[in-house]
Amino acid sequence: MTADFDRRAFLDGLLAVGFVSTAAAMAYPVARYLVPPVSGEPETASAVAAKASELKPNSGKVFKFGNRPGIVVRTPEGELVAFSAVCTHLDCTVQFKADTSQLWCACHNGTYDLGGNVVSGPPPRGLEKFAVNVRGEGADAEIVVSRA
């Protein structure tokens, strides 16, 4: 009788532990969904900047590189280069100036050459340079920009 009672109590306890564990396993992800942890910024590795046919020599295009702007330029010689379009001075977005073939920040007149180096103005350092690859051929070829 006592042995039977002990076995039953043991099984009830085991069942209770299993039930509580299952409930916790269900409740935890629900709680995490409702109150999510602060997530870090995932770093974008690469992005399609433009169709290759879009960019004529001596022209540039600002594109979305994750949550930051990037800029891809086809130099007057036809080479493709890409940089972060975030000015290193106060984070404004730089643009391509065709008349000088330079990257220019309108906020404080910072200028960079097509190597990303500071030419003039207040930027303390050059622009982050990205690697550029062309994927595909013909009219559908895409300019893929990646972190170097």
Partner: protein, 426 residues
């Protein structure tokens, strides 16, 4: 084999001895290094360590004259051999300029280096005072040192960008040394420039931001031709880096009124990080006392207050949108387009701050309007994200409720089956 090695060793010895005998004798270092008086011994010690001139083959006699081959003091310090001892005042400039103003000679050692330092120095306040007989002023050695001179690019050089302010302050923060000197307006030359500069945004960028292009003393005053920027030239000096501000300021009504240009609002040595609070005639607004809030007809006061209000409103809109987007993003909803748009809104705010230097509210308003429009669009997207989030949460609540209902139902069903079984057993 062994004999061959011996011959090689002897040849090497002879070559080393020949090389040693080819070195010019320098009795200056030998003799001065053994002197007890530190004033006499330390120059030799410093010159023997790291010195850009010694490393390029120059010796004591190239500046001090004399006969370095002689071992007796009288012959070594022979005036007939050009001995001039310790150069002072104008002699220092002449001694350094003998090489540093010689383009042909300098090309052999430092082809990129300028050769107009002495000419520039003659135009400086230091040079002019020296020419008038004041030997208390700075000469070449005051900044570069006399012995143990390092390249300007050497971080330990007293004229390396991060060390320039302290080097200038060696004299300019010394109240005793500066006593009697006056500014062009007749007021005493202050000695708190270094203390002021060390509170500035420029000093912060240079020393904490690792930005060696941030200005220090010589970037505004010149180095060899050091003078205080004259009235009317200040905007040009600041504009050499802050070009757009200088351009906008040149179109403003203040251009004709502000004798000291940029300095009137931003100070000179203690330039602080600008804030919206500076703009206006209330609180920390620096437009007072020229403009006052009490004068309701003061167009300048009204313009300043209008622009500040617009800046604050756009900044608040961006901050609010940022917080909203961050909340939605943290819940796992894609918002990179909105983040990008907010960067554009922030760019508009910076552009508006720049445009403000023309002191014309009608030029600022359209830029602010653009920024506000972007922030408003981001808000709409953010609110959609919040709605989506609430929808997902409601969906989760309904799913959970359904699951709990099923579990409870199952439990009741099991209990009912048990009860039936017990009854049938009875």
């Amino acid at each position: 084999m062994r004999r061959g090695l011996c011959v090689q060793f002897l040849v090497a010895l002879v070559l080393v001895a020949a090389r040693a005998s080819a070195q010019p004798a320098n009795s200056c270092l030998t003799c001065h290094a053994t002197q007890q008086d530190a004033r006499i011994a330390s120059p030799a010690a410093l010159f023997s360590q790291q010195d850009v001139h010694r490393e390029r083959g120059f010796a004591c006699a190239d500046c001090h004259g004399g006969n370095p081959a002689a071992t007796a003091k009288a012959q070594a310090h022979d005036a007939a051999k050009g001995y001039k001892g310790k150069p002072t005042g104008p002699q220092i400039i002449a001694t350094c300029a003998r090489c540093h103003s010689d383009a042909e000679l300098m090309r052999r050692f430092a082809p990129k280096q300028r050769v107009d330092q002495a000419t520039e120095y003659a135009t400086s306040v230091h040079g002019k005072r020296l020419a008038s007989g004041d030997t208390n002023v700075a000469t070449c050695v005051s900044c570069h040192g006399a012995h143990g001179i390092r390249l300007v690019s050497d971080a330990k050089s007293p004229v390396f960008p991060t060390n320039v302010a302290t080097t200038c302050a060696n004299c300019h923060a010394d109240a005793k040394r500066m006593a009697g000197y006056k500014l062009p307006d007749g007021s005493p030359l202050p000695t708190h420039q270094l203390a002021d500069y060390q509170t500035s945004v420029h000093y912060n960028a240079l020393t904490k931001g690792n930005d060696l292009s941030a200005p220090t003393c010589n970037d505004c005053h010149g180095n060899h031709g050091a003078v205080p920027p004259g009235v009317g030239a200040i905007a040009n000096v600041c504009g050499s880096c802050h070009a757009v501000f200088a351009e906008k300021f040149a179109t403003s009504v203040h251009k004709q009124i502000f004798d000291k240009g940029c300095v009137e609002c931003h100070s000179n040595h203690a330039v602080q990080k600008p804030s919206d609070a500076m703009l206006g005639v209330t609180g920390k607004g620096i437009c007072q006392p020229c403009h006052t809030a009490e004068d309701k007809g003061d167009k300048g006061a009204a313009a300043a207050e209008t622009m500040r209000t617009e800046f604050e409103q756009l900044k608040a809109a961006i901050d609010t949108s940022h917080a909203l987007i961050a909340r939605v993003k943290n819940a796992g909803i894609e918002v990179s387009d909105q983040e990008l748009a907010l960067r554009e809104a922030a760019t508009k705010l910076t552009l508006a701050h720049t445009e403000m230097h023309a002191f014309e509210p009608t030029l600022v308003a359209p830029i602010i309007a653009d920024g506000t429009k972007i922030a408003a669009a981001v808000d709409v997207a953010g609110q959609k994200g919040v709605s989506e989030l609430e929808f997902r949460r409601r969906g989760l609540a309904w799913s959970l409720a359904a699951i709990v209902l099923v579990v409870v139902g199952l439990a009741l069903k099991v209990r009912q089956i048990d009860q039936r079984r017990q009854k049938s057993d009875v």
